[in-house]
Subunit: 747 residues, 2 copies
Amino acid sequence: MMDFLEEPIPGVGTYDDFNTIDWVREKSRDRDRHREITNKSKESTWALIHSVSDAFSGWLLMLLIGLLSGSLAGLIDISAHWMTDLKEGICTEGFWFNHEHCCWNSDHVTFEDRDKCPEWNSWSQLIISTDEGAFAYIVNYFMYVLWALLFAFLAVSLVKVFAPYACGSGIPEIKTILSGFIIRGYLGKWTLIIKTITLVLAVSSGLSLGKEGPLVHVACCCGNILCHCFNKYRKNEAKRREVLSAAAAAGVSVAFGAPIGGVLFSLEEVSYYFPLKTLWRSFFAALVAAFTLRSINPFGNSRLVLFYVEFHTPWHLFELVPFIVLGIFGGLWGALFIRTNIAWCRKRKTTQLGRYPVVEVLVVTAITAILAFPNEYTRMSTSELISELFNDCGLLDSSKLCDYENRFNTSKGGELPDRPAGVGVYSAMWQLALTLILKIVITIFTFGMKIPSGLFIPSMAVGAIAGRLLGVGMEQLAYYHHDWAIFNSWCSQGADCITPGLYAMVGAAACLGGVTRMTVSLVVIMFELTGGLEYIVPLMAAAMTSKWVADALGREGIYDAHIRLNGYPFLEAKEEFAHKTLAMDVMKPRRNDPLLTVLTQDSMTVEDVETVISETTYSGFPVVVSRESQRLVGFVLRRDLIISIENARKKQDGVVSTSIIYFTEHSPPMPPYTPPTLKLRNILDLSPFTVTDLTPMEIVVDIFRKLGLRQCLVTHNGRLLGIITKKDVLKHIAQMANQDPDSILFN
Amino acid sequence: MMDFLEEPIPGVGTYDDFNTIDWVREKSRDRDRHREITNKSKESTWALIHSVSDAFSGWLLMLLIGLLSGSLAGLIDISAHWMTDLKEGICTEGFWFNHEHCCWNSDHVTFEDRDKCPEWNSWSQLIISTDEGAFAYIVNYFMYVLWALLFAFLAVSLVKVFAPYACGSGIPEIKTILSGFIIRGYLGKWTLIIKTITLVLAVSSGLSLGKEGPLVHVACCCGNILCHCFNKYRKNEAKRREVLSAAAAAGVSVAFGAPIGGVLFSLEEVSYYFPLKTLWRSFFAALVAAFTLRSINPFGNSRLVLFYVEFHTPWHLFELVPFIVLGIFGGLWGALFIRTNIAWCRKRKTTQLGRYPVVEVLVVTAITAILAFPNEYTRMSTSELISELFNDCGLLDSSKLCDYENRFNTSKGGELPDRPAGVGVYSAMWQLALTLILKIVITIFTFGMKIPSGLFIPSMAVGAIAGRLLGVGMEQLAYYHHDWAIFNSWCSQGADCITPGLYAMVGAAACLGGVTRMTVSLVVIMFELTGGLEYIVPLMAAAMTSKWVADALGREGIYDAHIRLNGYPFLEAKEEFAHKTLAMDVMKPRRNDPLLTVLTQDSMTVEDVETVISETTYSGFPVVVSRESQRLVGFVLRRDLIISIENARKKQDGVVSTSIIYFTEHSPPMPPYTPPTLKLRNILDLSPFTVTDLTPMEIVVDIFRKLGLRQCLVTHNGRLLGIITKKDVLKHIAQMANQDPDSILFN
């Protein structure tokens, strides 16, 4: 037990980049730390204060994460809003006002034309002093594309030069990191700064991407950086991952204004090790973040949620049929998107294409901007579009989507019955159909480019458009054919039966579910948007159908597919391992390989060990009693071994190449006049995990997952036979799924 | 591998009552089953259909559980409502109407006196034809107590005679069962029937108990019984526990009308093994149950939730101070309740008291009823009381709690400013204070009696009363002293600053949190009651304070305390094991004990083995290569060994006492003319879990928890040294916490 009190050698117990952590060891270390503080706390008042502050540091950290990520989200929202409007014009009252804000302060504005005021100048007004005619249109078109290209260029250049990790949504990597992988700098301060800036640029450039996924990355960066202020979390990789799980919850919480949904997202989608204590803390962080964002009030409406929806009409049981149709659509879209997007990303990785990220981004931006400008639904920002599609037409809505005939002719006070669609609705339908096609195609090429890009918003947009189209169709069907058997029991003429906005919402949930395969968290996020339990059933029906359909066409969600594409060593916790192989089929050495490289406990010299180290690349070595008995004593890590021997050679008197290294408690009896021995028991893991060679792989996989192992030794009747590493497990899983086992790249 | 195809011997692989299941084996068996079905499904259409129906049977089961538990909850609500009113009177229109329903149909009723109608007759009206005067009061008093005693007597007798397991809330036992313990009949049909009936009786008797906890037990019974219809779940203890987790969620969902809160309750409080698939299914079951209950509509108001609350005034940051005070009160109450209740229950267990359950119930009922009748707040059912306390006073409220001065004198249209309290409010305050004392005292003696009794409602009532008292106090303070520094920045005269109903809700959450130590699920349940994210911060502040205060005074929640009281083998997943002991300190045999009882792989006769079995009581034996080498081969369970030997002696030709039993793959070489050998490799677990003797116990505890082990073998340098069972682990934990290690009663 005295070993623990020895001064640790610097570097022992840390990890190399692109390596997997050992959860068991990290958690052990944290418990040791905690025990020490608790024991000391009885000694002095100062130590007691230290112990209390240590206990509360977790909560303080959550508070800081909430505040910081809420503020950053607010900042991103406000800047993105302003820069999106900048593509169309500028406010002469003050260039820092966005369109809405500019006209808000204006006196020259009527309620019907809320967004037309003299203070807001489109680019054509500024340049050629008119907003009318073909030339003005061309000027505005040109400026729109120009700004888009400028933003996109800035975004991709910043990412490329300063922080290559800032691209993408970041969720696949965060999942991998949370499962115990080390990617240095992925959650660092440069990534945070550059991702925040480029996210605003990317969103403003009008590309088909969202800021919700990247916000999770931003929040996780905040979490990681703030960890450095607390010893407890800075030094322990397992504890830090608890904090990151909570930060991910805070990220989703600010993205949608849905704290409970955020926590469930973290639990369901990204986290790996999620003890109940973390659940409660995540909830706290998510709530603080949401309220920080609300007090910044970026949407100018005191609403917590991104899309606030209020529906007035209940849904009818028969409507489950169209909802399930939307679910099927969502599942098909999800499966299609994942396949084509992965195929395109693979092409990017393997061909020349990947070498020109700037050109790629500029080309996609140009195509998007050129196609988007003529259609008002593609020109507006995607979140505005979704917001409009979710909206239930009220009396005062001036949107084209609400241009029904007789819209001011309400039979009963305030209530809006189903009405025949007017010209505006028909033209909106056409434009929406075109928007749908554009979004579907362009999103496939956008996601995965070297800029920050989220998937939530584009997926939701696709679903919301499809849903709205179906909803309006249903509404018109019910209006013109309310005598049909399917309608006449519940939808009399002049009643308000069908809410197209609800269809849009259900469609959005279905498509998001198809792409990400979220379930509970998806429904809860949507529930938090509406706040009514009423609409959970439609959402759930669509989400379930969508997941089933998508799962039937391909088991992986988009994040898992990207993890596999990049070869990260991620051990999926959701999938059951269903094959009947045994540990002996997976362990190294294989049947005809040379024997397992082992160290003996008290008979090898420093030189012998150094030879073993230089001749192999294994990250650790089992230590046995003797080569003949092969009885296992413990396990020692390569990195620790190298550092310790180096350290001993430098500092310890007389340790030379012929010194005997021993791992036993007492030095072996030595003949006189031999060089001093080197005791390395303190770096030996005396409780390595072992399984027998006949253990089914399903149990081995389970052990790796649940305990977070790095390696496991295999014995037969008490003798050491081989070793299974996490990489071996992953390769075996890939092999069993008929995939290339060499796609697993890291340790 | 051929062993799997052998016909299994009946009984092998099942468990005795009061034993712990082996999660690893159960999950393995389910995977084998699943693999078999998947493989067969390629052979024929029928097998394919079977495979698909097998995959969907889980969802069907969830649907059925939701429907059944929703219906039962509706039935219980309606009956309890009717029988509670029966204590006060009867409807002459039809005895099956409850008070509200009776007057609902009446024409002779004014809005102010909604609950006074000629059709509803109090017992004094029926018996002595008047409702006025002291004699009538005494008649009503007498009848009230009489009915209460009758209901209580029926409840306790039914429980005692038919289903002793139907008593209590059931949550401690369900937690234990879900962690892998077998209690036969605890979730059986008799328990279900009797618990449903007696729950109604117990609630109606006016005792200080709720139906929410027992509803979880009822739902779990439904789940367990419905499991019998599906092979997949009937035969597998691990799969069945997944279903029970979902059923628990459905139970809370119907209890409060909070499906998301129910799922989180199941996750946080009761479940042990909760894979993500279960999360999604639980959510489905919870939702179906909630909507079934709503379509039964027992509260007659189309509301899903038990206490529907709508507040209009936002809260102010300063109000966090009283909310935290409520949190401290809740924590103190929780700690006090747990201590005194456990002390009383221990007394019941250890003294003569426990032998007279009927008398005990009748005495407590009599005291409760006699003290309750004179005070209107104790006379009404507890859930009605809570509902009234949560209520924000509107213009039309006729309740005494809303009897403010100038209540009809509203300054601004519809808004209700803070007002001076009227006579009614003052008298209500006194009555509530008395109610608070009664509830606090009587609940301690009620919980744990031999009738179904839940804790949620009494705890919430205590908190709600305290909260309302504080809330009204604050309101009056703000009214009379609105110029104080703490008020003047946000509370001008005549404004509506403080909502006493919100204080009641926060108090209820704090007290419930203090008793059960729920966190996220508590806040989410409360959130679902109000539907507004606004009030989450006060709730969270109170719940956090309450948990911290209560934890400082005693680590365990009420359910864990009852688990320990009853000595159930429950391995708490939330607590970290913080001691620095090693596996060798816990394993059997201890240092001076005789050696570990082992079997050898191919040298013991049937008689030798039978001697070992009869001389020991261990539930399993390690199998080693030879006694000298002590190298481990596998582990065999006592139950399987007995059944197999018996079976072999009966059926297999020539197996006699001198037959050699072998566990190796091939029969050992035998001299000629020896009796036939008996091969038992098929009952040998070839992949027993092992740890080294130097493994820290914190890691061993972690392994037991996460993998759900029953036992684990201990080795030293490859030699078998000892064994650690779950009971050893639990005893060790108890010992380390300075508790009696022999309090762990079962295996």
